[in-house]
Assembly symmetry: C2
C-alpha cells in the first residue's frame, strides 16, 4: 500500500486522483461538522467552492428541503441558514435536508476530488471508521489535509498522522509513504494523547476561541464519537452504505 | 520575535513581505549550490522563474561574464552551462561570473521575495551563519521552505526546524511561532543527528540518487561548511558584507 499525504489541497489536480482513494481531513471544522450533520439525519451534503457556486446551486433546487451552510473567516455567511459549528446541526433543524456547504478550506478541497476513485471525509470523530474503510482497499491512498488558507495547519497534520498510525496497526505491514505522510506521523506522535490541548494550541483553534467558538474544539476533539464514513460521490457526501 | 514558516512558496505573495526578514531554504540543492558558488568566487547569482526568463535576461547581458545554470527535473537544461550540483561550481569555472540561476523550486521561491525587507539563502551548509544574521534582527521572520513541485518536502522542513532551534538557543527567549514553525521543529528533532541519513531517505534525495547524483547529498549534508549568508537584494544574490 502506498499512502501519500499533502498538507494543503493546493497541489491537487484531477488527473492525479483517478486511481486513488482520497481522504479529506479538515478537523476545524468541515470534516467534523459533516460527520455530525449526517449522524443527525441530514440527507446529504453538497460541497461547493464559493458563495456564487452555493447561490447558483440553490437556484436549481427546491428551497424547502435545502439549507445553506458554511462560513467565511470562521463566521456565519450573510443570508446563510447555518454556520460551521458542529453543535448547530441539530436533528430538528437538518433531518432529511440537503445541505449546501461552503467553507474556506474543506468544501473547496472536496470539490477537487470529483474524479477520485473514491473519496471520504475524515476527522478525529470518525478516524477509526476511516482507517477500517481504507484497510479494506489494496490501494493507492492520498490523504489531503485541507490546511488553512493555502497553508499547513497543525490539527489536520495530527489527524492525518493518527489515521496513518491506526491504519498501520490494522494492516500490520509496511506502507510506502511520501515525505508528507512521514512528517505527519512524526507530528502526530508529539500530540497523540493531547488532542484537545493541541487544538487549543493551534493557530485556527486560537482563532475560533477568539470568536467565542471554543466549544467547537471540544466537539472536534471527541475521537471516535461517530462510527461511520461519509463518502463523496457524484458531487454529494452521504453515509457509506457498504 | 515572531517566526513563521511555510512548507512551500505557494502562499507567498509580495504584500506579506515588506516588513519581514525572509529566509529561503532549498537544501536539495539550490540553497546549497548558491552557497558553494559564492564561496568559490562567483560575482553574483541572478535567480529567475523559468527558462524563458533566463534566456531573456541572457540577451540583456554580456555573454562573456555570464553562465546559465540550473535544472529541470534535477537534470542539466539543454543549452545551459551548469546543472545544479554544488560540486560543479568550481572556482576556475565560475570566478567573477554572474550566474543566471533557474531551478524548479528554489530560484522561483527567491524571485517571489523581491519586496522583502531583507531576504537570505539558507541550507545546512550555512545554517549557523543564518541564525546569527537573524538573531541580530528584532523582527518578524518568515522561513520559506521551497518544497518540491508545490508540495512539502522533508529536507527543507528539517533544515527550517534546525534553524529555529539554533536561533532559539542564541536569543534565549520565547519566540512566537505559527503552526508551520512548530511542526518543523518537531520534525527536526526526529532527524537532528542524522542529516545525511535523512537526505538519503527523503523523496527528492532518492530521486537524485536514481539520477546518479548521490554525491550531491554528501555535499548538502555538510553542516556549517560555510560561514556566510547570501543576501538577495535588488534581484541578485551576493555575499552579506555587513
Amino acid at each position: 500500500m502506498q499512502i501519500d499525504l499533502v498538507f494543503t489541497h493546493i497541489p491537487i489536480t484531477d488527473e492525479k486522483l483517478s486511481d486513488r482513494t482520497v481522504v479529506m481531513v479538515d478537523v476545524l471544522r468541515t470534516s467534523t461538522t459533516i460527520c455530525v450533520a449526517l449522524a443527525n439525519g441530514a440527507k446529504e451534503i453538497i460541497p461547493v467552492d464559493g458563495v456564487p457556486a452555493a447561490m447558483q446551486l440553490l437556484g436549481n433546487l427546491s428551497r424547502d428541503n435545502v439549507l445553506l451552510c458554511g462560513e467565511k473567516e470562521g463566521k456565519l455567511i450573510e443570508g446563510f441558514d447555518l454556520g460551521n459549528s458542529p453543535s448547530d446541526y441539530e436533528t430538528e433543524i437538518i433531518k432529511g435536508k440537503s445541505l449546501i456547504f461552503n467553507t474556506t478550506n474543506g468544501s473547496v478541497a472536496l470539490t477537487k476530488m470529483k474524479t477520485a476513485k473514491s473519496a471520504i471525509v475524515c476527522s478525529f470523530v470518525n478516524i477509526t471508521a476511516c482507517a477500517e474503510f481504507i484497510a479494506g482497499k489494496d490501494d493507492h491512498i492520498l490523504i489531503v489535509c485541507a490546511g488553512n488558507n493555502r497553508q499547513f495547519n497543525l490539527e489536520d497534520a495530527v489527524c492525518g498522522g493518527m489515521l496513518v498510525n491506526i491504519l498501520q496497526k490494522k494492516i500490520g505491514r509496511e506502507m510506502e509513504m511520501n515525505d508528507g505522510t512521514e512528517a505527519a506521523t512524526i507530528i502526530y506522535h508529539k500530540y497523540k494523547d493531547k488532542c484537545l490541548q493541541m487544538l487549543k494550541h493551534s493557530f485556527h483553534g486560537k482563532y475560533l476561541m477568539s470568536l467565542g467558538l471554543g466549544k467547537d474544539l471540544n466537539f472536534c476533539a471527541k475521537i471516535d464519537s461517530c462510527n461511520f464514513v461519509p463518502v463523496y460521490s457524484e458531487g454529494v457526501v452521504k453515509l457509506d452504505m457498504h
